[in-house]
């Protein structure tokens, strides 16, 4: 069993598991942090960005004026942003049989895998994962296509040139794997390969293994996966949460007794408690609005935003924000808000029960009804006529490199009355803000990451007790910025197996057993004899039939009565196929009674020698040795066949025949 690690990012995993005869890809997340090296894509012409100076090396030998621009002391690539793809060279991706998706954030690289690698398998995901994943992909494509850039910067990726660039571009890794965004066509094609599954549904893969998604409690439709054969069980835990938010709670008990547990997607903010951050978000928001400023919340169009809106729904009145408009701007805003309301079976119990009441599960519906929350596909159109300040705007993309958020950054960045509140933990807020510096608006960092923290995961692992844990390298040591926090790492016994990008791990367990079926008529023909109470054995003579990783014992077809022929004699001479084998022996030869028996038969001079495995009886007169061992008896007797036969028969008296 092997694990190929195609991504080194702990929360954006992409691994391939080879288990029995199957090749299973576990998630295919897209590392979008690479876009932080690019200039933002403004929706309306930005004189500031267009006037940025280009970069020429100090000695003037390298001129990348068109590709690299300098802004607030940092270099940015002026091109359509590119993403860092999972490793493609580690193994032949066309051999992948299935891809299991754990949540909609972990499927964004799907088109790159399914469309250009010769992939012919199936993708398994839950319905909300598919639908919301589609929305996020669609949004990403729209963000890119809305602001087309003909130019594609590649010169800077040249190793020799990159080495001469200032950081962080100089330190960017795998730049040659970075790719532009896919098209809608590729998205549709990729998603057409998705097969929907429900929680706890069991899917057979070629008869070899069974896969089953379990609720992971992190987002709508998010799942952990169980991959098991008859005798082995591998759990894949990715992006799970034990907090009571909108999704169905995490199914922990099904993870018990795993041989291997692959653990990814723990919280990126182990020191930031989501409750505290949610409170901080609300108080900063209220403080800004009271002072007459606007609040900008860069966010994804699904996920935490539902919780933010729910929290605000309760908070609005207490903070006297009843008249403040809340805007949600995204090409998929409407679909996201509506989808969330219809996935009843994927919601937590509280929200599920609301489905039977004349009120929607999420309170954002009421906010929309009362006109407190308005959503628009973009800043163009209706929004510009409805827009009132001070207000709160939720919009993407959290990287601040594309999407409507770019416009608001340009619009509000100059006033210190306004505040930008970061809630998504995926991007460093300082890096995100870099191309907008100098910035007068206040910045607040309230990363809300509801995924498991180290304390929770230690408790979880204590309960489910996997034999081995495999996790990203980052989880086995404290975060670099807090090297003394030994509480912010996984401490397990035996220690977890760490992986990083491009690792190939031999998972530490061997398959010992295989299940074999026996056909009823064959079973019926068996004559078991009891070996000891509760244990019976029988000889089976059968044909082993293996197909689709299923093994069956079938009766031996009776040889058709051979037509009389001249060769008849020869047929008789041959041992019959499936003829009765010799009986099997069981039991042990007890030393004292055996010696007594030998004496009765005239063998008196016996020297007994004790060995590690049993005894050696030396029949001195006969010059014969009898080795009595736990699993065998040997009679060493040269040239005295009658004696050997006698001793054999004496030995057999003590053994049981089957």
């Amino acid at each position: 069993m092997k694990l190929y690690c195609l991504s080194g990012h702990p929360t954006l995993p992409c691994n391939v598991l080879k288990f029995k005869s199957t090749t299973i890809m576990l998630d295919c997340a897209l590392d979008t942090t690479s876009v932080l090296n690019y200039l933002p894509l403004p929706l309306v012409h930005s004189p500031r960005l267009s006037k940025l100076p280009g970069w020429i090396s100090k000695d003037g030998t390298i001129n990348l004026e068109k590709e690299l621009k300098e802004c607030a002391g940092r270099l940015f690539v002026d091109s359509q942003p590119e993403f860092c793809l999972p490793e493609k060279e580690l193994l032949d991706l066309s051999t992948i049989d299935v891809i299991l998706i754990s949540n909609y954030h972990c499927m964004m690289a799907l088109p790159y895998i399914t469309e250009h690698t010769g992939f012919t398998g199936t993708v398994y995901a839950t319905e909300p994962t598919l639908q919301i994943g589609r929305l996020l992909m669609e949004e990403l494509v729209k963000f890119m296509e809305r602001v087309p850039k003909a130019q594609s910067a590649t010169c800077w990726k040249n190793k020799e040139i990159q080495r001469m660039l200032p950081g962080p571009l100089k330190d960017a890794v795998e730049v040659w794997t970075w790719k532009r965004c896919y098209s809608m066509q590729e998205v549709n094609s990729a998603l057409s390969k998705v097969q929907l599954v429900g929680y706890s549904q069991k899917v057979e893969l070629f008869g070899a293994v069974q896969i089953s998604p379990l609720s992971s409690g992190y987002s709508l439709g998010s799942s952990n996966w169980i991959i098991q054969s008859h005798h082995e069980k591998v759990s894949y835990v990715s992006g799970s949460s034990l907090l009571t938010t909108h999704p169905q709670p995490m199914d922990q008990s099904s993870l018990k007794n795993s041989d291997v547990l692959i653990l990814t997607g723990l919280t990126q903010m182990p020191t930031a408690n989501p409750d505290g951050m949610l409170g901080e978000f609300c108080s900063n928001l209220a403080m800004t609005i009271r002072a007459g400023g606007n609040v900008l919340v860069p966010c994804y169009s699904s996920g935490v935003i539902y919780d933010l809106l729910e929290c605000l729904y309760q908070f609005i009145d207490s903070a006297n924000l009843g008249t403040t408009p809340f805007y949600f701007i995204s090409p998929v805003a409407n679909s996201s808000l509506e989808f969330s309301q219809i996935f009843a079976e994927w919601l937590c119990h509280n929200k599920q029960t609301k489905v039977y009441l004349p009120e929607p599960p999420f309170p954002h519906a009421e906010l929309i009804q009362t006109n407190k929350l308005k959503h628009y596909p973009s800043i163009h159109g209706d929004f510009s006529s409805d827009f009132k300040q001070p207000c709160v705007v939720f919009t993407g993309h959290p990287s601040l490199r594309f999407g409507d958020v770019v416009h608001f950054m340009e619009l509000w960045g100059k006033s210190n009355l306004n505040t930008i509140i970061f809630t998504e933990p995926d991007f460093s807020y300082l890096d995100a803000l870099a191309p907008y510096q100098p910035l007068a608006m206040k910045c607040v960092y309230c990363p809300i990451d509801t995924r498991l923290n180290f304390h929770q995961v230690s408790k979880l692992l204590k309960e489910v007790q996997p034999l081995h844990v495999v996790c990203p390298d980052q989880y086995t040591q404290p975060p670099p910025s807090q090297s003394h926090r030994s509480d912010l790492m996984l401490e397990l016994q035996p220690p977890p197996m760490p992986y990083r990008r491009c690792s190939v791990l031999n998972l530490p367990f061997r398959r010992c057993y295989e299940r074999v079926y026996i056909l009823p008529e064959l079973a019926n023909s068996l004559v078991p004899s009891e070996l000891k109470p509760g244990v019976s054995v029988a000889n089976v003579s059968a044909i082993l039939h293996s197909k689709d990783n299923k093994h069956t014992l079938q009766s031996v077809p009776k040889a058709a009565p051979a037509p009389p022929s001249k060769k008849r004699k020869r047929v008789v001479e041959e041992p019959p196929v499936g003829g009765a084998p010799k009986p099997l022996l069981s039991g042990a030869v007890p030393l004292e009674p055996f010696l007594a028996t030998l004496q009765k038969h005239g063998i008196t001079e016996v020297k007994v020698e004790e060995t590690t495995d049993g005894h050696i009886l030396h029949l001195q007169a006969e010059d014969t040795l009898i080795q009595l061992e736990e699993d065998g008896t040997h009679i060493v007797c040269d040239n005295n066949e009658p004696l050997r036969t006698t001793i054999r028969d004496l030995v057999l008296r003590f053994l049981q025949k089957l």
Binding site: N273, G276, M277, G279, S283, N284, R290, Q482
Partner: protein, 897 residues
């Protein structure tokens, strides 16, 4: 009522002696309490209630008595014999010998019952109040069974036995003036100089007691000594009991006796200390040390105590040593080190000069690895660290600023900032990260050390840290609250706000603005409360300048606070709204005192407050509004028309409130107006101050403002009364008088009495025109609501007086006030007309205020709690028992539960 009770008593005794069931299991205790009260009041129960004697002899001689009744009887006999007269009577009737003879009860099979044993002990305890009793106690040989009971299986019995042993030694010990030598030489004391009682009211030492007391002391000392000698688990329990007794004795006995007792047990204590250190043993040693610190053996005991190898025991012993205020050259420094050791290890500051391989250090470090013991050790260490900061610097193992910075570092560790810590103690650090308990203890310690010398130098560091705490979204609301308290304390320590960097002040304002918008109401409330406290703290910029409010530490001063607080007035949580109103009162108080001019905003704000009073659905904000006006009225340098107007509105709205506390506060405001009006009558104000203390809440004492009188006396009085009527004070008091809540009615009644005494002279005094002028001051009594109640009172009183042939017709209160007809008709026609006008003075004198105040002074359950009621209950329960009536029985049972 007492007489009536005495009449019932024989029947009650009969019921009890017959073993009838009781109304509930507290009846006997209540009965005893009543007897004790009577005895204390000087009633001789033996003489006045002979039935009790009969009862005791009946019960004592009966073989079948209920153990509860027996226990009661034992206690009663002790009580009866607590006076010498009673003792003699009982001894003569030989009841005493029988009752206190344990052999008698053992024979009857009652001694097994712990309630009989405890009755025996408590009876003895009551009995042992005079010298005769002690002689009896010794002669009857009761000391032996009593000492045995000290190790009784029932914890209550054992504890009571220890208590009485302590009582005997303490009560009968020779007074300091009697003896200067050791106890053994007591008999040589000059008895002729004996005072009849000692200065603390205890029994004087008399010749006949000497011998008995010496015997008792000897036996008890011997008993203590033997019981402390170690040996097995059973002995251990015995030793614990004796140690507890020793603690009692050592803290209350006087020198010669205490020293001899100590001398007797020191060896045993030393031996005990070798085996195990328990809290009582620690207490004994420390109590011994505090009384005889110069004794070498005691000194050695303390040294052994402080060299225990168990880290937690050592910490507790050191803390107990310092807490008792004990100091000596050797041990104080040792204790300081022991207390600071956990801080030394966890913070990694290594401020104690210790070898890393030191045994104490290693064992403490091992203990700190365990989460639960770590938290408790650190908390003990932090809680006691302020004790060290007040010690003489020569005792300190390190400088004070190091201790303060260690506490600061501990707070940093708790919030997860571990960068400055060496890696050696990561296990302990891991345990304290995020612990609210440790955070609170450390903050408490930080608050305590604020007054220590050298604290000023740390102000900036403390500010920076507290700001970090206040900015931390994961902090528990209680941690926020404590952080604010500490901040206020340190601001007051700092004295000079200009020394705080502007950036910190700016950050503080930012944090406060954010926290006032917090999701948790507790945090918003703490923040608002903090702003109020900040405004109340006075600081000096320099020594020459006048004191300023501490809210000047915030950029923009109080003007930056006010909008934040006004916003909080709209908070959905009533506590926050109430805190905001109080905080606003505190921020505005300096302006009131300086007589600052009224602004438009202030007028609008007052209107908002009045709206809160009449519209807010919760009681707390409404109470706070009335308090606001009380503060304004009492601290204001001038009476603006806005203040007058608004006070009148507050009176009318507040008195109609549904919340009784709002009404009491409103009456407090009315009292301020009354004070102001009566300030010329100095005698009455004095009386007012003495009488009208608010029973439930602390109300600031009124500040009297000078009231000038230009008119002559009588017209002035009438004018004053007129003003009080116009301002609505009189109607507030009258409505309060008939309020269904007792505190409101009581307060109103007292104030009305004050008003009556001050302004309405009694009719029989001949004050001529003065009385007439004052009597003419009238009041319009509406015929609705509370006024109907007033009319009803008048009507009842009128009827009663008519029956006594003292008609009110002769009264002249209504002649000129067109009230005559209705009044003469006995107030039958009140429902028809709209309002009635009547003389205030007559009204006050006809309301029967003096009787009313007496009734109101009694608690609402005084009838149920009276001895008469108790006796009746016992009788009726007994009756129900003797004449079975299932329904009645059921009722009684139901009543019990």
């Amino acid at each position: 009522m007492e007489g009536e009770c005495f009449t019932l008593l024989p029947r009650v005794c009969a019921v009890l002696a017959a073993g009838s069931s009781l109304p509930d299991d507290t009846s006997l205790e209540k009965l005893l309490d009543w007897f004790s009260e009577l005895t204390t009041a000087g009633v001789s129960l033996v003489k006045d209630c002979p039935c009790l004697l009969e009862f005791t002899s009946t019960v004592v001689n009966s073989a079948t008595s209920d153990p509860c009744i027996l226990s009661f009887t034992l206690k009663l006999v002790g009580l009866l014999a607590s006076s010498e007269d009673g003792f003699i009577v009982l001894q003569e009737s030989s009841v005493l010998d029988l009752v206190f003879n344990p052999g008698h009860w053992e024979k009857a099979g009652h001694w097994e019952d712990p309630c009989v044993r405890i009755g025996w002990i408590q009876g003895l305890r009551s009995l042992l109040q005079h010298t005769k009793a002690l002689c009896f106690f010794v002669q009857a040989g009761l000391i032996e069974p009593l000492l045995q009971l000290q190790t009784d299986t029932s914890l209550f019995v054992a504890s009571a036995a220890s208590q009485i042993l302590a009582h005997i030694l303490i009560f009968y010990q020779p007074s300091p003036s009697l003896t200067h030598n050791s106890m053994e030489k007591n008999e040589a004391a000059d008895k002729s100089t004996n005072p009849s009682t000692t200065d603390d009211g205890r029994c004087p030492f008399k010749a006949e007691t000497d011998q008995s007391f010496t015997t008792v002391v000897m036996l008890i000392s011997e008993h203590l000594k033997n019981s402390l000698v170690s040996g097995g688990d059973a002995k251990l329990h015995h030793a614990q009991q004796s140690l507890r007794l020793l603690v009692l004795l050592l803290t209350r006995l006087r020198p010669p006796l205490r020293d001899s007792l100590l001398h007797a047990v020191t060896d045993a204590l030393e031996e005990l200390l070798m085996t195990d250190l328990t809290p009582p043993l620690m207490d004994v040693i420390l109590a011994a040390h505090s009384s005889s610190s110069s004794d070498v053996r005691i000194h050695r005991l303390v040294s052994s105590l402080l060299s225990t190898k168990k880290p937690t025991d050592l910490l507790h012993a050191a803390a107990a040593f310092l807490r008792r205020g004990l100091h000596d050259d050797v041990h104080t420094a040792q204790c300081a080190r022991a207390i600071l050791l956990p801080l030394h290890i966890v913070t990694g500051q290594l401020f104690l000069d210790m070898d890393p391989a030191d045994e104490d250090l290693c064992s403490m470090a091992a203990q700190l690895q365990n989460k639960s013991s770590c938290i408790s050790i650190i908390c003990t260490c932090l809680t006691n660290s302020p004790l060290i900061t007040v010690l003489d610097p020569s005792f300190l193992p390190c400088s004070l600023d190091v201790i303060i910075s260690s506490i600061l570092l501990m707070l940093r560790l708790c919030s997860g900032d571990t960068l400055s810590v060496s890696s050696g103690c990561s296990g302990a650090v891991r345990n304290v990260i995020g612990s609210s308990k440790v955070k609170k203890c450390a903050l408490e310690a930080l608050m305590s050390v604020s007054s220590s010398p050298g604290a000023k130098a740390e102000v900036i560091k403390v500010f920076t840290l507290l700001l970090k705490y206040l900015d931390d979204p994961d902090s528990d609301p209680t941690v926020f609250h404590k952080s604010y308290q500490v901040l206020v304390r340190w601001i007051s320590v700092c004295r000079d706000p200009s020394s705080i960097p502007d950036q910190l002040k700016q950050d503080l304002l930012g944090v406060v603005r954010k926290r006032v918008c917090d999701v948790r109401w507790e945090v918003r409330d703490s923040t608002v409360e903090f702003l109020g406290r900040l405004a109340a703290v006075k600081v000096h910029h320099t020594t020459d300048t006048e004191a300023q409010s501490a809210c000047e530490v915030l950029p923009g001063g109080s003007s930056s606070i006010t909008p934040v607080l006004e916003e909080a007035l709209l908070d959905p949580e009533s506590y926050v709204r109430a805190s905001a109103i109080s905080a606003l009162a505190q921020t505005q108080a300096p302006g009131w005192q300086q007589g600052a001019a009224l602004t438009q905003e202030r007028s609008e704000f007052v209107v908002r407050l009045l709206d809160v009073l009449s519209e807010d659905t919760e009681g707390f904000p409404r109470r706070a509004v009335v308090q606001y006006f009380i503060s304004w009225f009492s601290s204001s340098a001038s009476r603006s028309s806005l203040l007058r107007r608004s006070v009148r509105s507050v009176l009318s709205r507040g008195s109609a409130d549904l919340d009784w506390e709002v009404k009491v506060h409103t009456l407090e405001l009315a009292k301020l107006l009354l004070d102001e009006a009566l300030s010329a009558h100095s005698s009455s104000t004095k009386e007012l101050g003495a009488q009208c203390v608010h029973p439930y809440a602390v109300i600031p004492q009124p500040v009297y403002t000078p009231h000038t009188h230009t008119e002559n006396g009588e017209e002035d009085t009438a004018a004053l009364l007129e003003t009080l009527v116009e301002e609505g004070v009189v109607s507030v008091l009258l409505s309060g008088l008939v309020d269904c809540d007792r505190p409101v009615a009581l307060k109103a009644c007292r104030l009305l009495i004050v008003l009556r005494e001050a302004l309405c002279p009694p009719s029989h005094t001949d004050l001529g025109t003065d009385r007439e002028t004052v009597a003419k001051v009238s009041f319009l009594l509406p015929k609705s609501g509370w006024a109907l109640e007033i009319i009803k009172i008048l009507k009842t009183k009128n009827k009663a007086e008519e029956e006594n042939a003292a008609t009110l017709r002769s009264s002249n209160c209504i002649d000129e006030l067109k009230l005559g007809e209705g009044y003469n008709k006995g107030w039958d026609g009140v429902s028809g007309a709209g309002c009635e006008r009547m003389s205030v003075c007559e009204l006050l004198s006809n309301l029967g205020l003096d009787e009313r105040v007496k009734i109101l002074n009694q608690s609402s359950d005084h009838v149920q709690n009276s001895p008469l009621s108790l006796l009746q209950d016992i009788l009726s329960a007994g009756g129900a028992h003797t004449q079975p009536n299932t329904q009645l029985m059921q009722e009684v049972i139901v009543d019990c539960y």
